[in-house]
């Protein structure tokens, strides 16, 4: 990993129009991604976590320009990819690959492994016939499969093996960036560990940067160097993985951590838990002020009116009034204060010295 920036995303927005009525008029906008900034360094793994509908997949797809952002910019290796014409975009895309959650639907059921993995080798490296098959075998061995799998079809493989095939296919054009959208969420825990180890090995060997999207903070913490936490189309906290996981600065991160059950009954049953009220609100009409205020155990009056800006901090930043107008945590962990729902006293009185 280096400090050299590979991907720089600024002010990214993606709004999907909602049409209704006889004439299909646009009646509303789903603000799936609503102003997101982050960087990914060469060879780094940035984890992107958040609950369903928070905008993780949309962010991942916009970074590769698989969908057109509504606003903002994406620079890849210094080039503004939103300004590229289709030819230039195709050449750049070879260096940015994607793997998906569902290894079943992302492979062509009619195509053999040799064809699936071989196609990008033909397109991007001009390999054919024997040379192509040799290169495919090399990739299969990299992901823990063998030459004897070359002529087999997707249905002949288990979920974990299919995800290995998808990874081999993504590696074929020698990318600099791999966007992984929930790559292990459909896999059983024992197989999940195999695939995560494989992704880590590949990253070590080829120095590829990963944007690792997942709803599972425990998995993300394991694989990531830094973690960005999304809520309703925004990044609410970004920082070093260890800091985010053990010293969260944002109340939503704290709640997310508290909700993951620990696989140890003794610890799990003694933990102090925060159970959030209600569901994630609709991205059609995000709450005014801080988007988390409807569920936040620390919400203050200002939170209902003023949208908290991202405040830069060591290793990342946080968007929460606790760090500017509130009890002035100034970047310290939110674990230092008692949530209002648990504490009888006003939030301010509970800041530990």
């Amino acid at each position: 990993m280096s400090d050299e920036t590979l991907v720089k995303v600024q002010g990214l927005q993606k709004h999907f129009p909602v049409r209704s009525g006889l004439f299909g008029r646009v009646t509303a906008q789903v603000r799936a991604v609503d102003g997101v900034d982050f960087e990914i360094h060469r060879g780094e793994t940035l984890g992107l976590v958040g609950e369903s509908g928070s905008g993780k997949s949309t962010t991942g797809r916009a970074v590769l320009r698989l969908i057109e952002p509504s606003a903002g910019s994406v620079h890849f290796d210094g080039v503004d990819i939103l300004s590229l014409d289709s030819g230039a975009l195709r050449r750049t895309r070879a260096r940015m690959q994607m793997i998906f959650q569902d290894p079943y639907s992302s492979l062509d059921p009619q195509a053999t492994v040799a064809d699936s993995v071989g196609e990008p080798l033909r397109v991007h490296r001009g390999l054919r016939g024997r040379a192509r098959d040799d290169a495919v075998v090399e990739l299969l061995e990299t992901v823990g499969l063998q030459a004897r799998h070359l002529r087999r079809f997707p249905y002949e493989f288990s979920g974990g093996q299919r995800q290995r095939i998808c990874i081999a296919r993504a590696l074929a054009p020698s990318p600099d960036l791999l966007v992984c959208d929930e790559p292990v969420s459909a896999l059983d825990v024992s197989i999940q560990a195999q695939v995560i180890n494989l992704l880590e090995d590949i990253q070590q060997e080829f120095g590829i940067a990963l944007l690792f999207i997942s709803h599972d903070l425990a998995v993300v913490r394991h694989i990531s160097d830094r973690i960005a936490v999304m809520y309703l189309g925004r990044i609410v906290e970004i920082g070093e993985a260890e800091q985010v996981y053990t010293q969260p600065r944002h109340p939503y991160t704290e709640a997310l951590l508290s909700a993951i059950p620990v696989p140890d009954p003794v610890v799990q049953r003694r933990r102090d838990r925060i159970v959030l009220d209600g569901d994630i609100p609709s991205p059609l009409a995000p709450p005014p002020g801080c988007r988390f205020h409807t569920r936040c155990p620390y919400a203050m009056d200002v939170c209902r009116e003023v949208d908290p800006p991202m405040i830069p901090m060591a290793g990342g930043g946080v968007a929460c009034h606790l760090h500017d107008r509130g009890p002035r945590l100034h970047g310290r962990s939110v674990l230092e204060i008692e949530p209002r729902s648990r504490a009888a006293e006003p939030v301010h009185a509970n800041v530990k010295p």
């Binding site: 825990v189 024992s190 560990a193 425990a218 998995v219 260890e242 696989p263 159970v275 569901d279 994630i280």
Partner: protein, 343 residues
């Protein structure tokens, strides 16, 4: 060799009559090449008021076991090949469909992973709850409507009476699961079977539903058969746990014993594979390989192809489930292996 300490207090409970007792149970499905046994020699029990966990990876036979208790297995292609399922001493497999319908809903209720698929999109939540209530209780529509509102309120849906008029698509996943739980509670069942009730939900909503289930269970002294693939959830909510692998139970124990000192290498493997295990910089410890075809391991320990402790004796014959006091395991080496847990 290590000795397994038998806690007499726990043994007394074991000897008490269980509410549900599944004995040497087997289910087969017709395939192109004959019958395939997907649940084999499964035995476990659930006592009044307790939560029994059934944990295992996808395809291990958890749902087929649960559906069999409710007698909801499609026959054909399925058939019950062996065993008994005793509920309060009565063999459910001997009941005819009208008798079984009385058991379902009156004594045993079930909730599923995908609540939306269990509801009819064309009817309101209220209509469906009223129907569930009136199927088992002789009450007027009005009374059933009041009861439905009460139940929705009980499961924590704000503005319950108004929400009765909503169609399922207006409910979020978490609210649908609450509505399903309300429906299941309609007849105060003695046993609730919950098949991965939080798997499709976000973790913050999962935490809400687990809290709700725990509270309701205490309030109504209801037993639960809680099915999950997530060991964290199991650690949170279960009293005892049975671990399934390739159609069989390979280990059962109290939740504390299981996590502190598993007796079966597969259980140990599942615990070690979790990303929370060890330091975050440690490499993960997967279980190598994949679940084999049942037929290819029929003559030996089914876990032998993936077990790090496999020895010649493991390949000699199929391994029976052996009890050690309140615990049981399906491993020939259980007496000489000392396995590690997370507790």
């Amino acid at each position: 060799m290590t000795t397994l300490i038998v806690n007499e207090e726990v043994m007394d409970e074991v000897r008490a009559d269980p509410l549900l007792s599944v004995e040497n149970f087997a289910v087969e499905f017709a395939t192109g090449h004959g019958w395939s046994r997907v649940v084999d020699d499964v035995s476990f029990s659930v006592r009044a008021g307790e939560t029994m966990g059934l944990v295992g990876e996808s395809g291990s036979g958890k749902s087929v076991t649960a559906m069999s208790i409710m007698r909801l297995i499609p026959t054909p292609p399925g058939r019950i090949a062996a065993g008994r399922i005793l509920f309060e001493g009565q063999d459910l497999l001997a009941l005819d469909e009208p008798q079984m319908r009385k058991v379902r809903g009156n004594h045993i209720a079930m909730i599923f992973q995908e609540p939306l698929t269990a509801l009819n999109p064309a009817f309101t939540i209220g209509d469906q709850l009223v129907e569930a209530i009136r199927a088992h209780r002789k009450v007027t529509r009005k009374q059933a409507g009041d009861r439905a509102a009460e139940l929705l309120d009980l499961v924590g849906i704000p503005g319950a009476r108004q929400r009765l008029r909503d169609y399922p698509h207006r409910f979020s996943g978490g609210m649908l699961q609450r509505a399903m739980i309300a429906g299941a509670l309609a007849c105060s069942p003695k046993l609730l079977i919950a098949d991965e009730p939080t798997t499709a939900l976000d973790v913050t909503v999962q935490a809400q539903i687990l809290t709700l289930l725990r509270g309701l269970q205490q309030e109504f002294n209801m037993a639960m058969l809680f099915i999950s693939h997530d060991l964290g959830v199991v650690a949170d909510i279960c009293d005892r746990v049975a671990v399934m692998y390739a159609g069989q139970i390979v280990e059962s124990a109290t939740v504390y014993e299981l996590f502190e000192r598993p007796l079966h290498p597969y259980t140990e493997g599942l615990l070690l594979a979790m990303p929370q295990h060890g330091k975050p910089t440690d490499r993960l410890v997967p279980i190598p390989g994949v679940v084999p075809e049942a037929a290819s391991v029929a003559d030996r320990c089914r876990f032998e192809t993936r077990c790090r402790y496999a020895a010649d004796e493991c390949r000699a014959a199929p391994v029976p489930l052996t009890s050690y006091g309140p615990r049981a395991t399906r491993c020939v080496r259980s007496k000489d292996l000392v396995l590690g847990g997370t507790s």
